[in-house]
């Protein structure tokens, strides 16, 4: 082989542009963009419209009048604080009972482990609203209908599956040798959990906790069926606005307010949700 002087060849060697624009991707992005973004955009415009009469393409007057009006309503504040209290309670309880269980499923050996774990995954195999009605039938006899703790219980059940299998996967992904290395360095089992397993699994567990929190905050069916008429959470209030409120902007302002948690959740959990492992939990 002799060395080739690049300058003598460069004129004859054809150069290819290997990166072509991804037309299919752009088309899909555009189509999805229209379908996903437009409805939300319309709501956002409504939230800042003071006067918007048909058939004008855009509102006649923009302003913050309805923001003040919405935020001045006591039912909005009551619902907001109730929803927050509910979500925090449910998420904390869920983390408290599910994380140790997830660790046990991931790392310990006990009779019935596979069957019990499978039954958590299989709890998806029942139509959810039918199940809620069946539970409501039981709660009716227990006097839990229309109480705070009734709603907590129903929403807690809703978070169970996600708060079990995502952390189980997270704990299993911790390299066993890392835990053994900590044992080797002199740490007992509990110390290993605190100093190695938990910090290693923390990002994924955090995403699961956030998903549960947001999911509980938005949960509508259980709160509506079990909580009505006393317990009025944000989504339930939203339904009554849609059904009975003549002022369109109240609903629009509330919607825009409720996006905030959506966006935060999207930011922090996209990596988890986008990974194949998330979908695998649903049985694929």
């Amino acid at each position: 082989m002799t060395a080739i002087d690049p300058s003598t060849l460069s004129a004859e060697v054809p150069v290819h542009r290997t990166k072509r624009p991804d037309w299919l991707g752009l088309a899909l992005a555009l189509a999805l963009g229209i379908v996903v973004v437009i409805p939300l955009l319309v709501v956002a415009i409504w939230a800042f419209a003071e006067v918007w009469r048909y058939p004008s393409l855009l509102p006649q007057e923009f302003g913050f009048r309805f923001w003040q009006a919405t935020l001045a309503r006591p039912d909005v504040w009551a619902a907001m604080s109730l929803s927050l209290r509910l979500s925090v309670t449910v998420t904390l309880l869920s983390a408290l009972i599910c994380l140790p269980a997830a660790y046990a499923f991931a790392r310990m050996d006990f009779p019935g482990r596979n069957l019990l774990f499978l039954s958590f995954l299989a709890s998806h195999a029942f139509p959810k609203f039918g199940l809620l009605v069946a539970i409501a039938g039981i709660f009716l006899n227990l006097g839990l209908i229309s109480t705070f703790w009734g709603v907590v219980l129903i929403q807690l059940v809703g978070t169970l599956m996600m708060m079990i299998w995502i952390p189980v996967a997270a704990f299993q992904n911790v390299d066993r040798a890392m835990e053994e290395a900590a044992r080797d360095a002199g740490a007992g089992p509990i110390r290993v959990f605190w100093s190695v397993s938990l910090p290693q699994a923390a990002p994924t567990i955090f995403a699961a906790v956030l998903l549960s929190f947001v999911g509980t905050f938005y949960e509508t069916e259980g709160a509506w069926l079990i909580g009505a008429p006393e317990i009025r959470t944000m989504p339930v209030l939203m339904i009554t606005y849609i059904n009975n409120q003549i002022v369109v902007q109240y609903g629009a302002v509330l919607s825009v307010l409720l996006w905030v948690p959506s966006f935060i959740a999207l930011m922090f959990t996209r990596r988890l949700v986008g990974s194949g492992s998330f979908a695998k939990g649903f049985g694929v």
């Binding site: 890392m178 053994e180 290395a181 080797d184 002199g186 740490a187």
Partner: protein
């Protein structure tokens, strides 16, 4: 200092015996390599010494003290894992310091010891780095420092260099050997690479199917394998099946004399024990010549359809198809798995290397 004794160890997983009945003494400051194919149980032995598996039978003694039921965190052993198993949420110094912190040492002393340990593996000033900022070789060095900083009585290494490339593996091997010598620490090293075992060990233990096949120094292991398995597992070996009749083998090319009862045997000859000579009428022909730089490896087709490898000096010239004569300087005879005899033949022709 520290002495390790394994007494009649036995371990089964799900009713399968992984370790059958294994006894071994490791002297103070000795480096013993556990060598074997995958599934031979070598890692299991190491993990039992580290306390990560509990043996079903037998005992493990360190300095005469029974540690068989002692949990890993209370054993005077330090382990280096194949996957380095560094804690990625801690800095390099944090990894090394973890065990010292658990022992409640004062901060200044911890800093001092961490610095010393990192210096020992050639990583001074890397303490504040994150684990994932290091190269594979550096990560494994941190793992070694992490194990050594606790001054264990026994150092355990589980194929620590398996995921590194050839050059790096050789360099770290030499560094580890130097450190081990300097500290005089009793060491158990698991590997499936024979060159690693030959280069590192004071003694090699070849395991097969959960049992010890042979224990010997690298030199004896290579030159005087006691079983056919070891002969074939370590280095390359030509096996030629034939029959012994009246103290002479009936192989057409190798008539070996040995006082061995009649019956089928295998002649085991290392490629470097073979000498090639151009000749006619032998029926053995060169099939292919491969140049390895330091030596040539010549594949020879035998008249009976077998093929063997012979090592020649790089100056030798052979062409495919050329007829050759073969002479063996050293032959071992195996019947089944057992060695019957070893024969060193007086060379009739001087070999010019």
């Amino acid at each position: 200092m520290a002495q390790l004794t394994l007494k009649n160890l036995g371990k089964s997983f799900d009713a399968t015996d992984v370790i059958r009945d294994l006894s071994l003494d490791v002297a103070d400051g000795e480096l013993v390599c556990l060598l074997g194919p995958s599934g031979s149980g070598k890692s299991t032995v190491l993990r039992m010494v580290g306390g990560f598996e509990t043996p079903n039978r037998g005992a493990i003694l360190i300095d005469g003290e029974d540690v068989t039921r002692v949990p890993p965190e209370k054993r005077p052993t330090g382990m280096v894992f194949q996957s380095h198993a560094l804690w990625s949420h801690m800095s390099v110094a944090g990894n090394v310091a973890f065990g010292l912190k658990l022992r409640g040492l004062p901060k200044t002393q911890i800093r001092e010891k961490v610095g010393e340990a990192l210096a020992l593996v050639g990583l001074e000033g890397y303490g504040e780095r994150r684990v994932w900022q290091l190269s594979g070789g550096q990560q494994q060095r941190v793992a070694i420092a992490r194990a050594l900083v606790l001054e264990p009585k026994i150092l355990l290494l589980d194929e620590p260099f398996a995921s590194l490339d050839q050059h790096l593996r050789e360099r770290l091997r030499e560094e580890l050997r130097d450190i081990q010598r300097r500290l005089g620490i009793t060491t158990l090293f698991v590997t499936h690479g024979q060159d690693e075992a030959l280069a590192l060990a004071d003694r090699i233990v070849v395991l097969r199917g959960g049992e010890i096949e042979q224990v010997a120094s690298p030199d004896r292991m290579y030159r005087a394998p006691q079983t056919r398995f070891v002969a074939g597992f370590i280095g390359s070996m030509n096996f030629l099946p034939c029959d012994m009749r009246g103290g002479v083998s009936d192989h057409p090319l190798f008539a070996v004399r040995a006082t061995v009862p009649d019956g089928p045997v295998e002649l085991a000859i290392r490629p470097e024990a073979l000498t090639l000579l151009p000749a006619r009428g032998t029926g053995a022909r060169v099939h292919r010549v491969t140049d390895y730089g330091t030596h040539l490896l010549v594949d020879v087709d035998l008249p009976d359809g077998g093929r063997l490898k012979a090592m020649c000096p790089p100056s030798a010239r052979y062409e495919p198809g050329q007829e050759v004569a073969l002479e063996a300087g050293h032959v071992a005879l195996f019947r089944g798995d057992a060695k019957l005899a070893e024969v060193t033949v007086e060379r009739r022709v001087a070999v010019h290397v």
